[in-house]
């Protein structure tokens, strides 16, 4: 790892980015597991950071699909940092309910423990939590990570934070990439997302330009700590997986 160097840049349409990312991951497997032929049997943990609504979960999902289609279904998986939101119960108990989404409203120690276990790789299936937008809470033991899995893409806002527990987790990741998206597009996507989850336009705008914007600035400040900056020339607005899932659920409920 080379934290002091300027990050490299991977820029292009989605196909180019997916191919470039795959090449880089396979390179990491070979480089970090020199004892294994072509890195077979090794495991890399790659972080994908970025500001809210930059498209992290979409890109992570597409990348895992891409890797699985080429290397088999258990080869790669996504672990979202969103699963480590403190539950509303804990936020209320700790007086943090109004700060929801800020860095101190995440279970950074729980995240560090999971990353440690994924790195150690000495257990059977390790389960990660997943945030449920329906329940507005994280559901524990939702995402199985098999011992055979060789690539874990960890995506989330705060992977590059220099604060103690976050940087401890950062040390355990092989690389962290930063997904860049221009501010105007990001704001539009953020407002749309809040509206999909029940806010009116004014509330959505207020949150996007308030708490979210402050969180976003914190996150952007640390992007130089990434090894790779990714810029998608075709921003994946219409392929947001939460959007697809949400509209499917809505249809189900009204049916």
């Amino acid at each position: 790892m080379n934290d002091d160097a300027h990050p490299e840049v991977l820029r292009g349409d989605e196909q180019r980015v997916l191919d470039g990312a795959q090449t880089r991951i396979l390179g990491l497997l070979v480089r970090n597991f020199p004892g294994a032929a072509n890195g077979v049997g090794g495991r890399v943990l790659v972080g994908l950071a970025g500001a809210p609504a930059a498209g992290k979960s979409t890109l992570a999902t597409r990348l895992v699909e891409h890797l699985r289609s080429n290397h088999g279904p258990s080869f790669a998986t996504v672990v979202p940092l969103d699963g480590f939101h403190l539950a509303r119960e804990a936020l209320e108990q700790r007086g943090l309910a109004a700060r929801r989404g800020a860095i101190e409203t995440f279970d950074a120690a729980g995240f560090a423990d999971l990353i440690t276990r994924l790195r150690r790789r000495d257990e059977n299936t390790v389960f990660a939590p997943a945030y449920s937008r329906d329940l507005h809470d994280p559901v524990a033991a939702s995402i199985p990570v098999s011992p055979e899995t060789q690539v874990v893409i960890v995506e989330g806002n705060y992977l590059l934070s220099p604060e103690s527990l976050w940087s401890r987790s950062r040390q355990l990741l092989d690389e962290v990439w930063y997904l860049e998206l221009d501010a105007a597009t990001r704001l539009r996507r953020l407002v749309e997302r809040h509206q999909r989850f029940g806010m009116n336009r004014d509330e959505a705008l207020a949150k996007s330009t308030g708490v979210d914007a402050r969180n976003g600035e914190d996150i952007e400040r640390h992007h130089e700590r990434a090894q790779l900056i990714i810029e998608l020339s075709d921003a994946p607005a219409k392929r947001d997986p939460t959007e697809t899932r949400d509209s499917a659920e809505t249809t189900e409920k009204t049916a």
Binding site: L86, D107, A108, A140
Partner: protein, 220 residues
Amino acid sequence: MIDLTVQELSLEELFDRARALAVPGERHILGFTGAPGAGKSTVAEQVVDALGPDLAALVPMDGFHLANEVLLALGRRDRKGAHDTFDAAGYASLMTRIRGQQQSNLAGDDAIVYAPRFRREIEEPIGSSIPVHPDTPLIVTEGNYLLLESGAWPQARAAIDQVWFLAPVEAVRHERLVKRHEAYGKSHEEAELWALGSDQRNAEVIEATASRAEAILRLL
């Protein structure tokens, strides 16, 4: 045969025994186990209430239910509650963190360990729900499988100082179980069937683990 000596004691005597483990400045973990209907969660709650929040906190094992999404994918949805429908390794990892919590070099809010909580009304485990503070001397945990010898359960057991096995009179346990099923909407006949059927098979598995407990207790 192993000698399973059942010790009879009052609730007050039980509180005193638990209090002896709650030494300020130290960290101990006390586990309650027993067959379904043995009174684990009630007794664990009573102990934590009696000692108060400065001395004790409760971290139930059932927070480690696998999410319904995972159970569906594994084809185990209809066996929810069986030992392989829990994230035993997650429980072991959390118990290990709780045991070493005071020795960690983390300070302030970073030193809080969060445990999941099973929410019965939605039948899902909600992550990072229960804050466990490093200066709480006694952590009480309770569940069916604390003494199981398979999978990752022994690693959880290794982090727990003492496991007390609750062994009420069989008729009492049976009646409690039937009432619980009725409270969740089953008719009396259905409740009896459950208590004698799948509950009973589960109970036999759990009772076979009693010899690994530090104490087998029957409340008077």
